[in-house]
């Protein structure tokens, strides 16, 4: 059990060390990174099965008893996030084998991807606030490297904005750690859950909660803190964009869910209202920003922002159904969003650009790609019977039960506007006649075709499967939400017998 909890961190980091130290040939490197991702997926699935069957699992690193050492905890939410991280890691690593050029490869591209995966998994599994900060930094440094690797002008420009705002997020998070420690003398999340209600000045606790909300809000790209995302996500190679789009903002969302269900539950009326307002503005500005864009990845980047609003809205409503909706939404969204970015990569490869004015005619040129685009695009917009429909349905139902008609209106209105952007991409990229003159690009070779399309087909299959059989995932999300709403199991697993 102990090994299983730490494996999702150790496997990618060990793979990264091998990749960065050995600097193997192309063939060996591809084999190693694929092997690392498959091993990570295997470990994550074992953890998932263990947690789904036996409840929250915890271990103490170095055998220092909680709350003095660093705890690693896997509850249903954490285990599911680790699993979907492994899926995205595998898909992106395979896609990158076809996309990433030799220069970037020699500078250690595959190694940085593995470090990023290790950091993300660490963030999902740790039970200690300061340790979470460290995993954030592991993730952040790896993302800096991936974002700038290759050093094109556009990448440097995007990276300046990405680095500037993410460093502020880091500093707020660290300040928050310090203030929490000053209030309670502990940084263990389960211990904080027990000790924060005893703090005399609850106003201070709410102030610290807002410090964390802003720090995580920057990471999650919440309104009005999201400007780094559309400024940078379209600049690196598509494999990097897809990895970031799938995972990084969702670590911010995960942290918000974890902190506002486990730690900061004292002033739920205030924090809930704050998160609800931020979520609504995030949804609306994201989707309107997307409508104004003319580049495929920039449209998708704004849609990440808009979709983050849905997940945080689930957290803000905070009933068990809404939390289940937020968990379901997050898991479905990671798969869909990464897949849309991968599709944009093939579009770029086939037409030489992601600019809508320079693309066209791909429906005739690549009908399979057109069909594959429709799966994640309609899922994102919430068409039945795809996964996004169910995710939105649960949130709308939760908002109706909470008697918040304005939330229902925002949820549905933003969904409709999402359709607008998706049809715009469809019309411009796939349907309209190709612009003249068209640069002649080399056709896809067999191996390249398999590496580019394999991950897209796999992720689309997951989306369709969730859409056709939503019950198992919803039951799981529901159980995860119950654990979040009532963290007694979590606290008991970390602190032992104490309540």
């Amino acid at each position: 059990m102990r090994g299983l909890l730490i494996a999702p961190v150790v496997i990618p980091l060990a793979t990264a060390v091998l990749l960065l130290v050995l600097r193997p040939s192309r063939r060996v490197e591809h084999a190693l990174s694929a092997l690392g991702c498959v091993a990570l997926l295997g470990a994550a699935l074992m953890l998932l099965v263990r947690v789904a069957g036996g409840g929250v699992a915890a271990m103490q690193l170095g055998d220092w008893a909680a709350p003095f050492g660093v705890s690693f905890v896997a509850d249903r939410l954490g285990a599911a996030m680790v699993t979907v991280t492994a899926v995205i890691g595998l898909a992106v690593s395979v896609f990158a084998m076809a996309e990433i050029d030799d220069r970037r490869r020699r500078f250690g591209f595959a190694g940085f991807v593995q470090i990023l995966l290790g950091g993300v998994c660490g963030a999902f599994l740790t039970g200690d606030v300061f340790n979470l900060y460290v995993w954030y930094e592991v993730m952040l440094i790896a993302s800096f490297a991936l974002l700038t690797l290759g050093g094109e002008r556009i990448q440097i420009d995007g990276a300046v904005k990405y680095v500037a705002l993410n460093m502020i997020s880091t500093l707020l998070f660290l300040s928050g750690c310090g203030l929490l420690y000053g209030l309670t003398g502990t940084l263990n999340m389960a211990d904080l859950h027990a000790k924060l209600p005893a703090v005399a000045n609850q106003g201070l606790v709410t102030a610290v909660a807002v410090v964390f909300a802003i720090g995580f809000g920057i990471k999650a790209a919440l309104f009005p803190l999201f400007f780094w995302l559309p400024a940078s996500y379209h600049t690196p190679p598509v494999a990097v964009s897809a990895l970031f789009a799938g995972l990084l903002t969702k670590v911010g969302v995960y942290s918000l869910i974890r902190f506002f269900t486990l730690i900061f539950t004292g002033d739920a009326a205030f924090t809930g209202a704050l998160l609800a307002a931020a979520a609504a503005f995030t949804m609306v500005t994201g989707v309107l920003g997307a409508a104004a864009q003319n580049e495929m990845r920039r449209i998708l980047g704004f849609h990440i922002v808009s979709q983050i609003g849905y997940m945080v809205m689930g957290l803000a409503i905070a009933t068990p159904l809404a939390l289940a909706g937020a968990v379901f939404y997050t898991l479905h969204h990671i798969v869909v969003k990464a897949n849309l970015f991968l599709v944009s990569g093939v579009v770029r490869r086939l037409s030489g650009s992601g600019d809508l004015a320079r693309t066209g005619g791909l429906y005739a040129q690549a009908p399979l790609l057109a069909a594959l685009f429709l799966v994640p695009a309609f899922s994102l917009a919430g068409f039945p019977p795809l996964s996004g429909f169910w995710a939105k349905l649960f949130l709308v139902k939760a908002a109706l039960e909470a008697q918040a008609p304005w939330i229902v209106a925002v949820l549905i209105g933003v969904g409709l506007l999402t359709v607008y952007s998706m049809t715009k991409i469809w019309a411009e990229v796939f349907w309209k006649a190709p612009p003249e003159p068209r640069a002649a690009l080399p056709p896809l070779r067999g191996g390249e075709r398999a590496l580019l399309f394999g991950p897209i087909v796999g992720l689309a299959a997951i989306t369709v499967a969730i859409g056709l059989w939503p019950a198992p995932l919803f039951d799981y999300a529901d159980a995860a939400a119950r654990e979040l709403a009532d963290p007694r199991d979590y606290v008991a697993a970390v602190l032992g017998s104490r309540p």
């Binding site: 300061f130 460290v134 930094e137 952040l140 440094i141 800096f144 700038t148 050093g151 002008r153 556009i154 440097i156 420009d157 995007g158 990276a159 300046v160 904005k161 680095v163 500037a164 460093m167 502020i168 880091t170 500093l171 660290l174 300040s175 750690c177 310090g178 203030l179 420690y181 000053g182 559309p230 400024a231 940078s232 379209h234 600049t235 003319n294 600019d355 004015a357 320079r358």
Partner: protein, 126 residues
């Protein structure tokens, strides 16, 4: 002692927020240096300051004799310093690359990734 530190931290936060609001990326980095040290001091101060009581176990005893200084903030600060240094080193190299590639350190003038509407249209027509 904590009060003095709190005032110092407040002044440092204020100065660095002023610097970080600048469009000039180099000024932003100066602000980052100041604010990351301010946060380190914050971590130090919240652990409560004890004067002249090192966290040492005297010879022959199994535990410290009487109250000693809190050593956890030191471990936290050490980690934070190392991470902050790494971030700063990366950001400095990025600043130098931005100056070399884009010819400016004014972040508002960096419009390669997000071209203005009219410039984007011209680029498309060209």
């Amino acid at each position: 002692m904590e009060v003095l530190l709190a005032i110092l931290i407040g002044v440092m936060f204020g100065a660095s927020v002023y610097l970080m609001l600048s469009r000039n990326w180099v000024r932003y980095l100066f602000g980052f240096i100041v604010i990351s040290n301010a946060v380190n001091l914050l971590l130090f101060a919240v652990g409560r300051v004890e004067l002249g009581r090192p966290a040492l176990v005297p010879p022959g005893l199994a535990a410290p004799d009487g109250p000693v200084a809190n050593s956890l903030p030191q471990a936290l600060i050490l980690t934070a310093i190392v991470i902050g240094f790494g971030l700063l080193a990366f950001a400095l190299v990025l600043a130098s690359r931005a100056w070399a590639e884009l010819g400016t350190v004014d972040v508002d003038a960096m419009r390669v990734a997000e071209p203005r509407e009219d410039a984007a249209r011209e680029g498309r027509d060209a």
